[in-house]
Symmetry: C2
DNA sequence: CCTACCGATCGGTAGG
DNA sequence: CCTACCGATCGGTAGG
């Protein structure tokens, strides 16, 4: 019986390339973003997907698995990007700009997922929770190291590195209020505005 | 009976100036910050306070009332500060610096409350929810108006005002990771670093 | 995929 | 302030 439905999930690929499982994850991300992980119920997710709550469990193991998938999808993309940037030949300033643009794009184009992974990861259960804590700590350290290197090479203004990391990574979270605003500038314009504000803060005068 | 315990709350003022009610609110803020509003239970709050869950209701009406108190305490302080700054004779740049320092101080010295009011206000129920949404929208507009004025008077670099507001108000949220970090710089040093980064982003070159 | 259902936990009340 | 308890809702399972 179980095998039958797993197969059903696969067969949809022919029509739409989106499995039922992926739809569930996508709808879960939207609800987790809107109500928070704890406040969003499996019954609500099922409603939006158009099935009974019990049916969700033919595609996913638990509510927490949904959160795991969302959070690590995002975290892994960040880690991958960090590796790409680190091994590039760009200047420190260009590396940072590259990373910032990646974050901004993520907030604009994968908003729900990124938002959830950023605000709801505390509800992960172990071992995923400590794994995520490590990934986040490591990411910030690598980000800081790039700035540090830029300061040493005198490509970047002398600033407190920890403060700069903290400001830059959090400022991007502000794109949330851009999503909510009615009279939006375009995403591309927002990106340029943010980059110029943040990168100017690093340039030597 | 009820009156008796309300009286008990008041009488404590003689010893410590902190009523049982205020202790409950303070502990609730800590738990709401750590676990989120929905994930923190009244039983946990009661545990920390040192009473049974049912006893909390002699001091507060509901779990949501706790959130109301925390959120509007913070929001009202912001509104009050905004009025003070608007009616001052400071330059636009000085006004912004003044507001930023106020936010930074809040994040450093009233961390739990400010954090909760910023991240958990979505769980308010009406009419408090729409009230809060209005207060937040209004605050951002008034903040934007100050920057706008500075740009017009050419005290401030020509920037996209909406983007600047978004960056500045969210960057301050980054102080959260300062609280979590082990090798901290002092709060005062953090404040100076943040101010110089953010205010430099506004100054004309 | 559904119906039927379970144990746990929640916010909150009654009553002393 | 406590004990005792309630109805609602939750994540999840059994079984077809």
């Amino acid at each position: 019986m179980l095998a039958y439905f797993c197969f059903m999930g696969r067969i949809k690929t022919t029509n739409s390339q989106v499995t039922r499982r992926e739809i569930i994850i996508e709808k879960a991300a939207i609800l987790f973003k809107e109500k928070g992980f704890k406040a969003a119920s499996m019954r609500e997710i099922a409603d939006v997907v158009g099935v009974e709550a019990a049916s969700l469990y033919n595609h996913i193991k638990s509510k927490n698995e949904l959160l795991n998938i969302i959070c690590f999808d995002v975290a892994n993309r960040y880690t991958q990007k960090m590796e790409e940037v680190e091994s590039s030949k760009l200047s420190s300033l260009a590396k940072i700009e590259n990373l910032l643009r990646f974050h901004i794009d993520g907030m604009i184009n994968h908003f729900e997922e990124v938002y959830v992974s950023d605000r709801e990861w505390k509800h992960l259960d172990n071992p995923y929770l400590s794994n995520m804590q490590n990934q986040r700590r490591t990411y910030r350290k690598r980000f800081a190291a790039i700035i540090e290197e830029g300061v040493k090479k005198k490509e970047i203004k002398k600033i407190d590195v920890a403060t700069a990391v903290l400001i830059m990574l959090h400022a991007i979270g502000g794109i949330e209020s851009w999503h909510r605003s009615t009279q939006k500038i375009t995403g591309a314009a927002l990106e340029e505005n943010m980059i110029s504000f943040l990168i100017d803060g690093l340039k030597k005068i």
